[in-house]
Each structure stands twice: as structure tokens, then as C-alpha cells.
Symmetry: C2
Subunit: 112 residues, 2 copies
């Protein structure tokens, strides 16, 4: 895996959160995060993160993260922790537990 190395520039974002907003056609066997509402949830997450005032966070839309069946998927880097975020309530719990309290929203974690 990729570890940080001597001489690497400092991290640009303390928390870089990627929310999948990939959309597949209705009826596709894998489904897609956007078909499960991820675009609105990304927008809500952006707004809420800003309101919470957590510094140096980026909420980022992403193309397919390839864990579609478990979505709507979110991954937080650099720690590489994945969540299923399927409601505004789940967004609130993720932001509070992970970004504010710097722990984990355990009940939302994707299986390994």
C-alpha cells in the first residue's frame, strides 16, 4: 500500500471525503449510488460540513468507487474509512462522529 514518505508535502486536506455520485441506468444489476439518492446527500454533506465549521475538510463528488452494491458509498481519506450514507441523518452522524469527534460512525461502516 501507499505510505507517506520523507519529503512528501503536508496533507492538503485533513479530511478528504469522497461521495460517489455515479448513476447507472434504472434496472442495472449493480444499482448505483446516485440512483439511491447520493447526489442530494452529497449536497447536504457539503452544506452541513460548512455549517459545522470543521477546518480543512473537502467534501468531494466522485465517479464510481466500485462498491456499488453497498452504496450510497463514502470514503474518507487519508485514513481510507468507508461508510454507507443513505440519509441526511446518516450524514449528520458521519460528520459528527468522524470529523468533529475524530472517531468513527461505527454503525455506518462498510464491511471489510
Amino acid at each position: 500500500m501507499g505510505d507517506r514518505q520523507d519529503g512528501d508535502p503536508p496533507l492538503f486536506y485533513d479530511f478528504h471525503v469522497f461521495a460517489c455520485v455515479n448513476r447507472r441506468p434504472d434496472g442495472h444489476s449493480r444499482g448505483s449510488c446516485a440512483a439511491r439518492g447520493s447526489e442530494k446527500l452529497r449536497d447536504y454533506m457539503k452544506a452541513r460540513a460548512k455549517e459545522l465549521g470543521v477546518p480543512n475538510v473537502r467534501i468531494n463528488g466522485a465517479a464510481c468507487l466500485d462498491r456499488c452494491e453497498l452504496g450510497p458509498c463514502v470514503v474518507v481519506y487519508p485514513e481510507g474509512v468507508w461508510y454507507r450514507v443513505d440519509s441526511t441523518d446518516a450524514v449528520d452522524r458521519l460528520l459528527q462522529a468522524h470529523l468533529v469527534d475524530r472517531g468513527r460512525a461505527s454503525e455506518l461502516l462498510l464491511p471489510p
Copy 2:
């Protein structure tokens, strides 16, 4: 910043590479990565990473990473190392130096 914690699931991807494919209207003061050709470069990167056979890598399109002026931008996680990748040659150098040789493509690094 976000560190890995006891009990975190193992990393799902050894290298998770995000290439910005955000497009702004022509003439926008910040420009955009897609206006500088990032969509084709992402496609090329996907194909070349597959050809190189590096295991457990994901080349991912991303919405705006917000370092537009320095783009086309790519960030590799979990290490959080950023590159400017503006040609297929740059893609080849990034993949070889970072993913295959597990070092850095120093001449492509974004400034801190």
C-alpha cells in the same frame, strides 16, 4: 488530520487515485482540469494502470478537487500526494514512479 485507528477495516484499495474531471465554462478565471484535457488523461491512466497489472489500484474520476489553477490535478490516497498530470507521458511517469516503483514522480508534484 485523520489517522487510522484500531479496529479500522483494512484499506480497500492500496492506491486510490483521483483524477479531477471537473469542467468549467470556457473563459472561467480559474480554468478547469477537464478544459485542460483531464478526461482523456483519466481514461488513458485507467487503461495503462490495467496494462501494468498493478494490483489493487483504483483510478477514479472526481469532481472539483479545488486546486484548479494547478491542474490537471491528481491525488493519490491514502498517502495524499498530489500531482499535475498534463500529458500521457506524465501519466506514464506517475504510474511507473508511484505505483510500480512505490516512490514519487518528483517533477510532477504539486507545490505544498
